[in-house]
């Protein structure tokens, strides 16, 4: 660095970015599917991690979060399908009742025609 001030500013930015990354890891851990005991254990062990371990830990959390969310989305889809099926059954029943009603009406018509004849 030719300019000490510029160099110091650049290092400060790098440090701040690194801190932000650390914050993101904390949030990912909070959002992960690990049990509270496991979260607590990870939180206490992060200070022991070197850069390579921190990077691996980030990948681990990312995969966990991605999978967890996908699983939850699937659960929601199943519930939606169940609701849709319920609705479908209701419509089918309404249709069946209507068909039964029309058949009864036809029977009534036949009876009236016979009586008239």
């Amino acid at each position: 660095m030719d300019d000490p001030q510029k160099g110091a500013a650049a290092l400060a930015v790098l440090g701040q970015n690194a801190r932000n990354s650390g914050r993101e890891i904390a949030r990912m851990l909070a959002a992960s599917s690990f049990s509270s005991e496991e979260k607590k254990a990870w939180a206490n062990l992060v200070p022991y991690m070197d850069l390579a371990l921190l990077k691996r830990f980030t990948s681990l959390l990312a995969a966990d979060l991605e999978g967890t969310v996908a699983e939850q989305a699937e659960d929601t889809m199943l519930l939606l399908k169940a609701a849709a099926m319920k609705r479908e059954f209701a419509v089918s029943h309404a249709k069946k009742d209507a068909a039964d009603g029309i058949r009864a009406l036809e029977q009534e018509l036949v009876t009236l025609e016979r009586a008239h004849a």
Binding site: E74, T76, M77, L80, E88, D97
Partner: protein, 605 residues
């Protein structure tokens, strides 16, 4: 009827019939069939078609629209008769469509796995583009899309129902751009932005609903940001933009969707995606009209009725229709339920974060620079800097940031923490470190263990570059399971073993249980092999998986004879899944004493 329009000679059986010139062939608009997708299943449509063969005069034209299969044609009866021989072709086409859908799923999983691997290896952005284009190219020959081709040969008084033809999809430049955007893993955004929840939801909805007899086409009237037509086509979500005057479920759904959970664009996308739910009521009025019209005509034309009786019967018919419509068009409870499910889903996703306001619904913005990149920059910025020093400094800053966001007790011994994680990662010996290097080695092993668990749980090829799933144990389990279910007489000791090792592989684990329930779907009110029965299987699989992981059943062995005697159903109460053990014959709950002879419990490994 893929080739129903082709000119062909008459079949030998029909040669005796006089030929009618094409220009004299009469359109049979009154017999024109519009297959309401949400009312008629595939098999029923075939039966209708077969029934028409016996009733349509040979010289008349019958217009048939088999929307589900993406085929429409106006054909003469003779052609239909020839096409009757092609019924098997229709079935084959249906099977093919199913295969395509499955293949799309498989490819998308592979795509996600590859994208993840590339992301982990930190390949440059060009690789993402290459992957996206390559994957889409792989999908392209298999994707069939429908294109609007006009009204077709319908009478002027017919409703303005658009018709579509089936075409192969070829990726355009726009599609390729969309494919690039669809790659979630890049340096700027590692996680899917909020609209992807909707994309996932709509894709999932579409998959579940179209796998059977749902397939509609059309364009979206208004495309919410991030959810364009191209994206819809890519995900297989083709929506109809029709709004039938508020009679469709989904039309008023937006009113139910809370602003707390969904943005305006999301509400629009969801509403549109739900328009084609099976419970949609469009088509049902015309269906009633079809039945009612015959009856009405019958009443009006009857010569054996007094005017009073005629009026009374017509009033009764109108009343029937009123009651029918009341039931069919009351979509408010349905929409409320759907909105509730969606809101609960969103809330559940948010629930994963104690800082929901930051995470939002599955949204994480990873900083522009990852830690190794920062270390390299730091090394370059410090004159004479060393790599080890730079990594240590950046690591320290990252740890500071991490600690600033967490409030856990820091006085705990690392060995204790390692022990907790080692137990979770199923590596019993990883918790005995007593120096920093040993702690780090143990952490590496623990991460391997968790990586493998996560990979297995979410069906990933690997996590963090390590922890690949091992095929051998799964194959072994499959072998055991198959023998056990088949009741191999040579090994009477063979048991179905729901031990922890099996639990890790969810699909195979639950298979024996599902088989018990799957064999008798009619007892649950489902037609075997119907779409609903298939859904039942899927639902039970999911439920059983939860049940087995949340209840003590995961450590239970089913002994020989259990499949004949027991029916094990997953039951959810207050969010907790339990196993209900029923008598396979009577479906009555069994007492512990009654089913104990068929099971053997084991302590957890």
């Amino acid at each position: 009827m893929p080739d129903g329009n082709k000119k062909r000679g008459p079949s030998p059986e029909r040669r005796a019939q006089p030929e009618v010139p094409a220009e004299q062939q009469e359109k049979v608009t009154d017999l024109e069939v519009s297959f309401a997708l949400d009312l008629f299943g595939y098999e029923r449509r075939l039966r209708i078609l077969e029934g028409l063969l016996d009733n349509v005069p040979a010289h008349k034209t019958l217009s048939v629209d088999i929307s589900q299969l993406g085929v429409q044609a106006s054909v003469t009866k003779k052609e239909i008769e020839r096409a009757a021989d092609k019924m098997k072709d229709l079935e084959a086409l249906q099977v093919r469509l199913d295969v395509i859908i499955e293949r799309q799923e498989e490819l998308s999983k592979r795509y996600a796995a590859e994208a993840r691997k590339i992301a982990i290896r930190e390949k440059p952005a060009a690789d993402y583009r290459e992957l996206a284009v390559r994957t889409n190219a792989e999908l392209a020959p298999e994707i069939l899309v429908k294109k609007k081709v006009g009204r077709g040969r319908r009478a002027p008084e017919e409703p303005d129902v658009e018709r579509h033809e089936i075409r192969r999809w070829k990726p355009t430049a726009e599609d390729r751009e969309a494919a690039e955007r669809s790659v979630h893993f890049n340096k700027e955004i590692r996680f899917v932005p909020r609209p992807s929840l909707i994309e996932r939801a709509t894709k999932g909805i579409r998959y579940l609903l179209t796998r059977g007899d749902q397939e509609t086409a059309g364009g979206m009237e208004q495309e919410p940001r991030g959810f364009g037509k191209t994206a819809a086509v890519e995900s297989g979500l083709l929506l109809t933009g029709k709004d039938m005057a508020g009679t469709l479920p989904g039309v008023d759904l937006a009113q139910h969707l809370s602003r707390k959970h969904f943005s305006s664009a999301e509400r629009i996308a969801l509403r549109k995606s739900l328009v084609e739910l099976p419970g949609a009521s469009h088509g049902v009025v015309s269906d009633f009209d079809e039945m009612g019209a015959v009856m009405r005509q019958r009443i009006r034309s009857s010569r054996g009725l007094s005017p009073e009786n005629r009026r009374a019967l017509l009033r009764e018919l109108a009343s029937l229709r009123g009651r029918y419509e009341e039931r069919v068009f009351d979509t408010v409870p349905f929409n409320g339920e759907v909105a509730g499910i969606l809101a609960a889903g969103a809330e559940s996703l948010k629930g994963h974060s104690r800082e929901a306001e930051i995470l939002g619904v599955y949204f994480l913005h990873v900083p522009d620079h990852d830690l190794p990149t920062l270390a390299m920059s730091y090394e370059g910025a410090v004159a004479g800097g060393r790599k080890e020093h730079a990594e240590q400094v950046i690591g320290n800053y990252a740890t500071q940031g991490f600690l600033a966001e967490t409030r856990d007790d820091r006085t705990l011994r690392p060995q204790e923490m390692l022990g907790t994680l080692a137990h979770g990662a199923e590596i019993p010996n990883a918790g005995k470190a007593d120096s920093l290097p040993q702690v780090r080695v143990a952490l590496g092993e623990i991460m391997d263990g968790y990586g493998a668990i996560i990979a297995r749980r979410f069906h990933l090829s690997s996590v963090g570059g390590k922890g690949d799933t091992q095929a051998e144990p799964i194959e072994h389990i499959a072998h055991l399971e198959e023998d056990a279910v088949e009741g191999d007489a040579e090994d009477s000791e063979m048991l179905l073993h729901f031990a922890d090792a099996v639990v890790r592989d969810g699909d195979r684990m639950i298979d024996p249980l599902i088989r018990v329930m799957r064999n008798t779907p009619e007892e649950f009110g489902f037609t075997p092999k119907s779409d609903d029965a298939i859904f039942l299987e899927r639902f039970l699989e999911k439920a059983a998986r939860k049940m087995l992981t949340q209840s003590g059943l995961r450590n239970m062995r089913l002994l020989e004879g259990a499949h004949d005697k027991l029916a094990i159903l997953p039951v959810e109460k207050n969010g907790v899944w339990r196993a209900a053990v029923l008598d396979a014959g009577t479906r009555e709950p069994l007492t512990d004493e009654e089913y104990y002879p068929y099971i053997k419990t084991e302590p957890r490994a």
